[in-house]
Symmetry: C2
């Protein structure tokens, strides 16, 4: 598993919020965790962390909840991954050497860097809202689909 569970839940929650919330439509944590099938309190912690980093907005009290404003919907997903799993995740040596560099490359460096750089590039150009498009249209999914018996 390349991303942590925290990170997976974060991305799912953000996509759900992108589609279903805005400045004056807030979602509470029960609704969110039910929708993305994630553990409620754990998800709440993750969203709190994202609020601290200004990736998500929130308001307390009656009628409050979590939401994304238009600016937040355009944040690239890589930024979220960097916050939750650390900037190193996609820059680390595949064999765990302290520093991944072409100067002192490990035996899998070439294959590995090619892969991680490409992935990093792709994730840095996809915003939360771009990833949400397919989900809103029903062509992409953030929860497990029922087995269809054909």
């Amino acid at each position: 598993m390349i991303f942590s569970k925290k990170c997976e839940y974060a991305i799912k929650a953000l996509i759900h919020l992108c589609i279903n919330s805005d400045t004056d439509t807030r979602l509470n944590i029960t609704e969110i965790s039910d929708s993305i099938e994630s553990p409620m309190h754990f998800t709440s912690k993750i969203l709190q962390e994202l609020v601290r980093h200004k990736i998500v907005s929130s308001s307390k009290g009656l009628g409050g909840g979590f939401f994304l404003n238009n600016q937040q919907k355009n944040i690239p997903i890589l930024e979220v991954i960097d916050i939750i799993d650390g900037k190193e995740l996609l820059s680390q040596c595949g064999l765990g050497l302290k520093k991944c560099s072409s100067k002192n490359p490990c035996p899998i460096h070439n294959e590995f860097v090619k892969y991680s750089e490409q992935l990093k590039q792709a994730l840095s150009t996809k915003s939360i809202s771009v990833l949400s498009l397919g989900v809103a249209k029903g062509t992409n999914f953030i929860i497990n689909q029922k087995e269809e018996i054909l």
Copy 2:
């Protein structure tokens, strides 16, 4: 970190064994863990697991130790990763959906599969001995190099 520590140590140990052992040159666990800078008993467990899967050979008793025969040196590294971290590792959905498929793709499926297939392909065609070449020549490294003060 995409591979587990177990897997990192396994790959390093195999490369070290590929370069320094053969049917009648066996290495004991102290020598191996010192050379690859890994925790000795943990590494021993990992090698035992690889012995059970016939990736590594071992013999007990005086003059015994771990070693690779010529056939084992040609095992693709992906096979090792599959054993230690599970076949799923490089086939899993990046968002943790139970099944990664283009029929019910998650929002990052396209990017994700494109690169993980490439990596899997690359790792399936590199044998332990191929990865060892650079290390034997001194152009690749499996332990951290000292900081050079230039």
